[in-house]
């Protein structure tokens, strides 16, 4: 029984991490849009290349934030949560 419970905990954590990383879609689309527009802008005004690139990198890094939230959750679920949950379970069984 205990093995099953621990298996469910580990599986749930892995599934949760995988589902959390779906959030990576959002920043991907957003950053793709930003880069596309930056390419357009550079094509139209090549002399603004450095300013456009800097602004685009800044914007990309900020747009990435939501993806990084998901990443933090996924990392917590994979490396931190299982041992905590298993300890909780073992303490409850005592």
């Amino acid at each position: 029984m205990l093995e099953l419970a621990i298996g469910i905990i580990l599986g749930g954590c892995a599934l949760g991490a995988g589902v959390a990383m779906i959030a990576g879609v959002g920043p991907g689309i957003g950053e793709g849009n930003a880069v596309a527009k930056a390419c357009e802008a550079i094509g139209r005004q090549p002399e603004c290349k450095s300013a456009v690139t800097t602004t685009m990198l800044m914007g990309c890094a900020i747009a990435e934030t939501t993806g990084l939230y998901a990443l933090v959750i996924a990392i917590l679920l994979i490396f931190v949560a299982p041992s905590n949950f298993i300890n909780l379970l073992l303490n409850a069984l005592k």
Binding site: A61, E64, F79
Partner: protein, 300 residues
Amino acid sequence: MTATAAKPNKLFRAVDVLLLVLAVLPLLAGIVIRILFYPATEGIDISGALIYFTLDTPIGPFPISESQVNSWLVMLTLFWLCLYLTHGITPEGGSRRQHLVEWAVEQVDRLVCENMGEYFAGFAPFIIAMMALSAFSSLLSLLGLHAPTSDINVVGGWALLVFFLITYFKMKCGPLQYLRSFTEPVPLLLPLNLISEVATPVSMAFRHYGNILSGAVISALLGAALTGLSKAILGGLPGILGDIPLLRVGVPAVLSIYFDVFSGLLQAFIFATLTMLYVAGGFPAELYARKKAAKSKKRR
């Protein structure tokens, strides 16, 4: 070059070399400490910062972790490097070093003035210190050390510092004005304003730490995968050749250029830029100027 600037004497040279050695020494010390303390591991090793030892204080146990030690080492390195770079500066200007430092200072001054305005011109040293600390901390992973920025506690501390700065400059027109700013533009938005106030340091800390940590995790995974691959392919080679993970040579360096160098430097720049934007954005400049003008009128 003039004749007076061309001949640095022996003492000057000796101090130069001494400062450079002192700047490199903390990094070497970091590597030595890591080799001494690190437990031998096989395969994937993705854990948080190693705790070297725990101090017993009256308040409670105070663990000294790898990220603390490494960030102090980075600070020491930066300190000696700054002394080295500013050593022998003359009003006439001459050495290549001086031009480099002057260029950097001018760039940061310009950046701060552009982003924050004249009132915050004094912020330049703080901004460049933050940038240098963050960049060097992230670059520490190039030496195989644990980057302090991949620990949420370190970056969270910086974000808290920035949060206090933002709040201080928001309170420049008095605490009442600060409290009133939460109910703008309509009082209905009070909870949203409170949430966004708290979200600022949280998102800053998560952004920086998540970027660096994801690079570290991917590098570790790639290293483990390449070790397994070379064991499977080259394991049949005779003698010691089969034991060395040959495929691990060189390949992770390509990823490291992106994850350690590019991402680390970009995050340092972004952290500094966001600090500038938030601090300058929270400051009620118009109201402050009006109040100051009214005060000086009263005095007259």
